[in-house]
């Protein structure tokens, strides 16, 4: 390729990048991850799918045997809305307390994350945005997964 052609192509690429950047800025400030996912309707639809998928997932559905699934779905919506910048208040228990007696292991924690990816897929949320959500949830592993079996009658850890 001639050096002139390379220079011209380089300039075109730069111009394209600059114009894309300008378009991004014209949108008026940074949008939240919540908005980029598709806001309340999309997140509620995803959480509905999520609960359906988990319910039929034999790897983890035993943990929901005594769970009010309607309330669970609402709490999941609140929590994901909250951490993605949607401004919701999460009214559930903290992650350590909520999972204190479930003896969740890493495989079960990961299975739940796989189900969340699947739910986002079904709602056609782009994979790179799914990863941004899971990046916010992944550190919760330290509170959800216990490194030892918790006796069923042990009191929750004081916070």
């Amino acid at each position: 390729m001639s050096s002139l052609l390379k220079t011209v192509m380089g300039c075109l690429l730069l111009a394209a990048a600059a114009s894309a950047a300008a378009q991004e800025m014209n949108k008026g400030g940074p949008t939240t991850l919540y908005d980029r996912i598709g806001g309340e309707s999309k997140l509620r639809a995803t959480m509905h799918e999520f609960v359906l998928i988990m319910e039929s997932d034999d790897r983890i559905n035993f943990t929901f045997a005594n769970t009010d699934l309607k309330k669970f779905e609402q709490l999941l919506f609140e929590q994901l809305c909250n951490i993605t910048g949607g401004g919701c208040k999460y009214t559930g228990r903290d992650m350590y307390t909520a999972h204190a007696k479930l003896n969740i292991n890493n495989a079960e924690f990961n299975a739940l994350a796989e189900d969340l990816y699947e739910a986002f897929d079904r709602e056609h949320v782009p994979y790179r945005l799914q990863n941004k959500v899971v990046a916010l949830l992944a550190p919760m592993q330290r509170d959800v997964v216990k490194d030892h079996l918790v006796p069923q009658d042990s009191p929750p850890k004081p916070k």
Partner: protein
Amino acid sequence: MICSRALRAVVVRVCALGALLLCGQAATADNLVGSDEGKFLLTAGFNDLDGAGGGGLVPLAFISGYGSSDSWGANAHFTDIQLKDFQLRAFGVAVGALDRVEVSYTRHEFDVTGTALDGLGVSQDIVGVKVKLLGNAVYGQDSWLPQLAVGAEYHKNEGIDNAAAVGLAGVVSPKQLGATSDHGTDYYIAATKIFLAQSIVVNAVLRATKANEFGLLGFGGDLKNTYSYKPEGTVAYLLTRHLAVGSEVRTRPHNLAVDDETTAYDVFLGWAPTKNLSLVAAYLNIGGVLGPATGVNRHQDGPYISIQAGF
């Protein structure tokens, strides 16, 4: 040299510590009968050229097999590399336990398919062990700390075949080409970080090695017979839950006068349709090979295909 000696001492001690940790963890794990296949897609299921859990050229800090920290897993691979004048076939198996320790065996069968040495063959066996030290590349999204692992790879060169056919009658060992030994051990430390919010994986490795052309031409040589301390790296972009695209670089020592060994690099696609099957399609360039001996100085590049099955 002090550095590589220190690295070796650390790796050996950590491997011993890893064995102890493994015994302690096994006592409390309850999923040891079958694998729970509890890891995320793409975080297992791939083995590098030397058999360690990783990509094509470079190991990752991940432990082979999809078993979680309460379970185990295993992975078998078959790899075919067609360079301009050489072909390398690698096959082997790796077992990972408790997401903590990995043991691997791989065999290399290397054939010259061009130049004046057409028909020459070399083979070697590689036994590897890797221990995850600390950090978690998936869960540690709120931390700068990468997942860290150390490993050792013992290579035994099984000698040169068919040398008489190319006018090198009597040459049966890489030692006759200038290598100091037909066996050697690489030691490495790997740091792997998944930037999940950016869908990017970054991996850095430091390897203490005497290997010539991955050990295919022996260890140490007439130019240098001490450990070299060589960096390697991987960058990958996660396209989907099943597909990653990326590039690897592996710098290598130059110990042999008959060889013109230099940096190897590749671009790759890694595809995991399920946790039981992974495929790597890459384009590999390992630079000149045996140029001073054959007079053929061109870069040796070509396709790298690897099929891997496991759980």
